[in-house]
């Protein structure tokens, strides 16, 4: 049946062939999104393969709610990460999810390597392989994207995914830019595309989606929409966007500053959401089917460096995480400077977070004499010096010399060679996000299946505990984090945006699914969430992950959090409990 979710599109880049397989089995068992993607990854990624070898597949998957409900706007990508050497998973909105589903596919599996650079043009009729030799080597991912869209023309609602120079040069944390302002940012999907000689993917879709119960669908939709536009939980993303977090995190002393040597600003913090909106907000955008429009674009007006009375206005999308990584973490406090760095990583196609943390480590290592000017190619990194950081980002993307090559493989790789691992801020191989709120945050970074703050949002538990003036035992914390991570497997299998996690409570998920597909109850969905999480960990174990081998950077223990100093023993106790609960097979999400 055309348009059915269980149609999986396979692409063989080596032979320039594509075909569709019916995987109703997978979708009926695992919903879609993350649940289906982990199975497709397990099936098609050979054990212990090199993440940059042709064998490493890229899986893109959407779910049963995609394009049917507000905020069901994300695509899940899975691959083996060249940065961590293990599970790579990243979620992205824009128009990607809508286009893939309305083109009539539930998932796409991209395999092997093309002999020469190509981009893919995908629609309901299948895949066309387009010559991308002219686009390869372009200095900006944005230009390449525009060219692909213009060349494809055509009808339908279109999305464009592409990599920049960083992905082509296999920087292990190269990201993929979607439309102009969204990303499969973390864990190096851009490098995997680069290794496949795959410059980009254009997907056009304009199909119909039948639903199981039309009346129930209309009612559920109306109710959800009304709550989405009225909900105070969404207001935060609606008005100022995620940078609204910066002020409060600074005030509580949880905002990493200058490679986590400090945790906030005494007075008014720089780069704070309200001031950014007042001075720079130029336009707001939404992912398809999202009423919230959390995408905030700053209009950066700059004089031409030489010609008088020439100006250029650049639009830069800003969010909390990139502002932390390329702003406070580097001591960059002028909004214009931080925005300029955000723009640089956008063109180069780097993950802003890993790039910022790598630069922060390099700055401190330079100050402490571990790196000299010669290794740095004549550059002298200094907190707040956006100009030197912009040049360093170019060097990383171009892999200029041994130091920048290592910096392009993450702080762990750089510290292994040059030392300074006590302040190399990565967990499970992934550079730290902007939360030093307490044990919960760092346990998420350590135990989350992809080591992302979004896996189980420990920072939210820390903030709850702060408010309540309580603390949880390591065991309680472990169970709470796993329960949240399991719930998020349900959300990312449906697939809905995590910002809407408050909206998509148990009853809502059940009602939404029942109207469009078939009746399921929440307890079964949570059991499935646990199962998906265990399947991810089984994949990780297969690829060599060990909880015991996790490194806890000393800096995170030395610098107090708002909940006090962290002890390694407590963290290890919680990690063991996570490992035990996962291995036991028992239901952890109730009781």
């Amino acid at each position: 049946m055309p348009g059915a979710l269980h149609r999986v599109l396979f692409v063989d880049l080596a032979r320039h062939r594509s075909w569709v397989e019916d995987r109703a089995d997978l979708y009926s068992e695992s919903l879609g999104g993350a649940g289906v993607a982990i199975e497709l990854l397990r099936e098609h990624c050979p054990e212990r393969c090199d993440p940059l070898a042709p064998e490493n597949p890229i899986v893109l998957a959407v779910g049963p709610l995609t394009s049917l409900y507000p905020l069901a706007s994300k695509t899940v990508a899975m691959f083996k990460s060249p940065l961590t050497g293990n599970l790579g998973e990243s979620h992205c909105g824009g128009r990607s999810a809508m286009a893939l589903r309305l083109a009539g596919y539930g998932a796409m599996v991209i395999m092997d390597r093309s002999p020469t650079p190509v981009y893919l043009s995908v629609d309901a009729g299948g895949v066309r392989f387009r010559d991308a030799r002219t686009l390869w080597g372009m200095s900006s991912s944005l230009t390449a994207g525009r060219v692909m869209l213009e060349r494809e023309g055509g009808a339908g609602h279109r999305t464009v995914l592409r990599i920049g120079p960083a992905g082509e040069n296999l920087v292990t944390y190269a990201g993929v830019t979607v439309e102009t302002y969204r990303h499969f940012g973390r864990l190096g999907m851009g490098a995997v595309m680069g290794s496949k000689h795959l410059k980009g993917i254009v997907i056009a879709g304009n199909g119909d989606l039948p639903v199981a119960d039309r009346g129930a669908y209309q009612r559920t939709y109306r109710d959800l929409y009304t709550r989405a536009v009225r909900s105070p939980a969404m207001r935060k993303y609606y008005e100022l966007g995620t940078p609204e977090n910066l002020g409060p995190l600074s005030a509580m002393g949880a905002l990493p500053v200058r490679n986590l040597q400090a945790t906030g600003y005494g007075t008014e913090p720089p780069l704070e959401g309200e001031a950014l909106a007042r001075e720079h907000l130029g336009r707001r955008l939404a992912c398809s089917h999202c009423p919230t429009a959390c995408i905030h674009l700053a209009a950066l007006r700059e004089p031409h460096p030489e010609a008088p009375y020439f100006y250029k206005t650049t639009f830069v999308s800003y969010d909390y995480e990139p502002l932390y990584a390329l702003g406070t973490m580097l001591g960059v406090e002028q909004p214009e400077d931080a925005l300029r760095l955000l723009d640089v990583v956008e063109h180069l196609g780097l993950d802003a977070m890993s790039a910022g943390v790598a630069l922060a480590w390099a700055t401190e290592a330079f100050e402490r004499g571990l790196l000299d000017e010669k290794a740095l190619g004549g550059l002298r990194p200094a907190w707040g010096d956006a100009r030197v950081y912009a040049t360093m980002l170019e060097c990383i993307a171009r892999r200029a010399g041994p130091l920048y090559t290592l910096l392009g493989e993450g702080v762990d790789a750089a510290a292994a060679e040059y030392g300074g691992d006590s302040y190399a801020l990565a967990f499970g191989g992934l550079e730290m996000p902007g939360y030093h709120t307490g044990p919960g945050a760092h346990l998420t970074h350590l135990t989350g299946a992809r080591h992302s703050h979004l896996d189980s949002a420990g920072y939210a538990f820390d903030q709850e505990d702060m408010k309540a003036g309580q603390s949880r035992s390591p065991k309680e914390l472990a169970r709470a984090l796993l329960t949240e991570e399991a719930r998020r497997q349900v959300l990312s299998s449906l697939v809905v945006c995590f910002f809407a996690r408050g909206l998509y409570d148990a009853d809502t998920c059940v009602a939404c699914l029942s109207a469009v597909e078939k009746e399921r109850n929440w307890d079964d969905l949570m059991a499935l969430g646990e199962d998906i999480l265990r399947r991810k960990h089984a994949f990780k174990a297969r690829e060599g992950f060990e909880f015991d081998a996790l490194r806890i950077p000393a800096r995170t223990l030395e610098v107090p959090t708002p909940l006090g100093g962290l002890s390694e023993n407590t963290l290890r106790e919680a990690i063991s409990e996570v490992e035990r609960l996962l291995a036991s097979g028992e239901r952890f999400s109730h009781g």
Binding site: S67, M98, L102, G156, G207, Y217, S288, L297
Partner: protein, 132 residues
Amino acid sequence: MGKRLRVVDVERCVDCLLCAFACARRFGGGGLAKSAIAVRSVGGMERGFVVVVCRACEDPPCLAVCPVGAIRKVEVGVRVDADRCIGCSMCVEACAIGAVQWDAVERKPVICVHCGLCAQYCPHSVLAHEEV
């Protein structure tokens, strides 16, 4: 008199397409094949959007060009008689603002009926359903 759909404040459009999804839901299901409303960027998303809806012409070119008389005028706007329509897509060409959408699944035009459902679902008050 009837009500007409109008774009009142396009600067607030965020390209969420909730209007287009609402339009398609008139027929009960999801997706966008049956949406009569289109949102396009003006050369790059940062420059903003145009929202294309039927203007309910006094003397509709779409009607005039139809070779089989499948389009007739109603109080506000036009209606397509799908049984008569031969799928030639001349109406698509005739509308200068591009308000005749094309349902590639059914191979028939989709034209706004000015019901106002999209305006109810636009979260940013871009659209209004007004007395004419």
